[in-house]
């Protein structure tokens, strides 16, 4: 080999930055209904194709088509629409509350509502989610009280977490919702451990792990895939690819791989990509993965393809690093509109009922907010006592903590 030319560092850049015309040209989307539905016990090696396409049920006309359709009744779908609308309206109110200084911080789901709401409907009570901060739909679709969520966000005296956690870092064991960690990725392997425990105990419950596109880079993502693959753990490994990690586009984490779903192939874990803005597709794929787990066929990796339409958090302004029109250019549309259109196409919904429903939900959220604020916000009302800070560090408070609590006068 003759003297080679100098090497240079390849640093991935997104298709568009502020000022550029947004382009998702490289993003190939199959027609709704076009992707096959393998039987749950098909060999992982024969299912590799599922990681390179996108399972979609709702077509542009708003009809549900193909092998993944037909699982949900009109009643289910109306409930689903109520859930995604509730999450969206909840987010709007809480964003406003944060701007008003009623709390320190908030993270919204705009554009991703279908993922967690639809997924929850595919689980059984008793199953356990290990979520990130962007799956509140699991709580809302699971019937967790909005007021409890707000009490946590406001860190008021009714906060189930006693004012200890940053807003939205919920925990709700009875609703199959593991305490959210501020440290990215740690929950992914924990979910696998929970699933192993269920298998060790001869139980029938399964767990679901959640992680963002950017966080798949974290090392514990690897730990989770290794353990899930080795012990055939009954777990669903969810990657929510919302295209961005704060200011960093998904390509920085994906690297030279074609998709995030492909990560599963190195471990013999069936991997499947789904249209995350298609409520029916997310639900159908989740059902399929849950059946695999519950039948002892082991883990499934799901890449939910969606778009983070809002800022990363209330501390973030996306206009500094991505084009303002990128959201419009996003090819998979809005999950709420698509579900609504589908129901209307079915004749099971109407613009009138939609407006009415939004009004009802807004009232319900407002009511919950009034209840919560009557107790307190971060800047008003009543709060957990400093004393609560010393509880639960251990089951029983050791002498040095009692001394410190007294020293503090609490």
């Amino acid at each position: 080999m003759d003297t080679p030319k100098p090497l240079s560092l390849h640093v991935p850049e997104p298709g568009c930055r502020p000022g550029d015309a947004p382009a998702f040209s490289d993003f190939v989307i199959p027609k709704a209904g076009a992707v096959r539905r393998p039987s749950v016990d098909e060999a992982p090696e024969d299912m590799r194709d599922m990681a390179f396409s996108v399972v979609r049920v709702l077509n542009s006309a708003g009809e549900a088509v193909g092998p993944w359709s037909g699982l949900l009744t009109e009643e289910d779908l109306r409930r689903g629409l109520e859930h995604v609308l509730t999450l969206r309206i909840f987010d709007e109110r809480m964003l406003k509350a944060q701007r008003q200084g009623k709390t320190s911080f908030y993270m919204q789901h705009l554009g991703e509502e279908a993922v967690s709401c639809a997924f929850r409907m595919a689980l059984e009570d008793g199953d356990m989610n290990f979520p990130t901060y962007r799956q509140a739909g699991l709580l809302i679709a699971g019937g967790y009280p909005l007021t409890s969520m707000m009490n946590q966000i406001y860190s008021n005296s009714a906060d189930p977490l006693k004012g200890r956690q940053l807003p939205v870092m919920y925990s709700a064991r009875d609703h199959g919702f593991f305490t959210i960690s501020g440290n990215l990725g740690t929950q992914f392997i924990q979910a696998v451990g929970w699933a192993m425990a269920s298998a060790i105990s001869g139980d029938t419950r399964i767990s679901a792990a959640w992680i963002g596109d950017g966080s798949t880079s974290e090392n514990d993502f690897h730990a989770a895939l290794v353990f899930a693959s080795t012990y055939k753990a009954p777990v669903i490994l969810n990657i929510v690819n919302n295209q961005w990690a704060i200011s960093t586009f998904q390509g920085m984490a994906r690297g030279n791989a074609v998709t995030f779903a492909a990560r599963g192939h190195g471990f013999g874990i069936p991997a499947i990509r789904v249209d995350g803005n298609d409520y029916l597709a997310v639900h159908a794929v989740a059902k399929w993965a849950a059946e695999r787990a519950r039948s002892g066929l082991g883990p499934t990796l799901i890449e939910h393809v969606t778009y983070r339409a809002g800022g990363h958090s209330t501390s973030d302004d996306p206009s500094a690093y991505r084009s303002r029109n990128e959201e419009q250019a996003w090819p998979l549309g809005d999950p709420v509109t698509r579900l609504k259109t589908h129901l209307i196409t079915l004749g099971a919904w109407s613009e009138e009922r939609h407006i009415q429903s939004i009004a009802e939900i807004t009232d319900r959220v407002r009511l919950a907010q009034r209840e919560a604020e009557a107790i307190g916000t971060l800047i008003s009302g009543t709060h957990p006592s400093p004393r609560a800070m010393f509880d639960d560090v251990y089951a029983e408070m050791p002498p040095h903590l009692i001394r410190q609590r007294q020293e503090g006068g609490y």
Partner: protein, 337 residues
């Protein structure tokens, strides 16, 4: 009563815990079929099956992370880290997750995991088979940190750790596995079977966490030690003829301040010894807390004897290891001071 080495005592504790409580599971690298590189889990897989005692992939973060998930489910995992030197990949899971689970979820989720690991030097293991990282855990609120120094305690403390509802870092001084090594590397070590603390009750029993033991009553000076250093202290006391009161801390967090305070107030002098590097070692906390609580009783400065602030060497093992001779010098110093 039976004669046991520390390894046999630890194995026996696992056995009794698994027999008694179906939620106890044991796993780690080479822990299942083979029974652990130090044989501390030998026989458990045969007796309790591969789903309660199993081998694991070489991923310490995974061992602890999976263990935390098992705790969230309701099991009581006992995880072995092959050497304490290899715990760092699991540090995030221990510090950010295990230690805070109960607090951040307001008790909804708890973490009764036990993380066992051989610790300390004296085996020519070089820098990655000799470390003593206890102080990296005593700084972390939510953890308990235990260091047994003999078979009797190893069994009782391990059973207490497994019963404990919170995460316990269980550091086993590997140099003590087979006998009470006192730092005299040039002399043969008496095997546990010839040592009273090698007498172990076969039945299930608990040695409570948070309680120190006085190994030698004395009036002249208080020596705070744990693990291998307990026997180094006994040797130093004998060889210097200084009437030292030797306290085996056994649990570093929570600390048995009462016992320490009573002793130092009696002797008016205090020497602290550990193998870990000196700066920000656990000796610093001990010195600070003794000073805070016994200031007006102190007749001489508190002295720390510790590993040098260097990586643990290979050829220079005995120049690094804090033995009876170095401790003896410190004892004389405080007696003069």
């Amino acid at each position: 009563m039976a004669r046991m080495t520390m390894i046999e005592a630890i194995r026996n504790a696992h056995d009794l815990a698994m027999e008694r409580d179906r939620t106890v599971v044991v796993f780690g690298e080479d822990v299942g079929y083979f029974g652990g590189v130090f044989r501390c889990t030998a026989g458990l897989q045969k007796k309790y099956g591969a789903s309660r005692c199993f081998d694991a992939p070489i991923n310490e973060s995974g061992l602890v992370g999976a263990g935390i998930g098992m705790c969230a489910y309701g099991l009581k995992p006992v995880v072995e880290i092959q050497f304490a030197d290899y715990v760092y990949p699991a540090y995030d899971q221990i510090v950010s997750e295990a230690a805070r689970l109960r607090h951040r979820s307001a008790g909804q989720f708890t973490c009764p995991i036990v993380i066992r690991m051989p610790t300390g030097g004296g085996i020519f293991g070089g820098q990655t088979h000799s470390q003593s990282p206890e102080a990296l855990f005593t700084h972390v609120a939510g953890l308990k940190v235990v260091v047994p120094s003999n078979p009797q305690d190893a069994k009782g403390l391990l059973l207490a750790a497994i019963e404990d509802p919170d995460p316990v870092i269980f550091l086993e001084p590997k140099r003590l596995y087979n006998g009470p090594f006192d730092g005299h590397h040039d002399r043969p070590v008496t095997p546990w079977k010839n040592h009273p603390l090698g007498d172990v009750d076969d039945n299930y029993y608990i040695t409570p966490l948070g309680k120190a033991a006085i190994r030698r009553k004395g009036e002249a000076v208080t020596v705070l030690a744990y693990g291998t250093m307990v026997f180094v202290a006994e040797a130093a006391a004998e060889e210097t003829g200084i009437d030292a009161e030797i306290i085996d801390l056994r649990t570093l967090l929570p600390l048995d301040l009462e016992t320490i305070e009573a002793s130092v107030k009696k002797t008016g002098r205090c020497v602290i010894i550990h193998e870990a590097t000196r700066t920000s070692g656990f000796g610093a906390e001990l010195s600070a807390i003794v000073q805070e609580n016994c200031f007006f009783h102190l007749e001489a400065p508190i002295v720390r004897v510790a590993g040098w602030d260097t990586p643990y060497p290979h050829a220079q093992e005995w120049a690094y290891f804090p033995g009876p001779e170095r401790l003896g010098r410190a004892l004389r110093q405080v007696m003069e001071g």
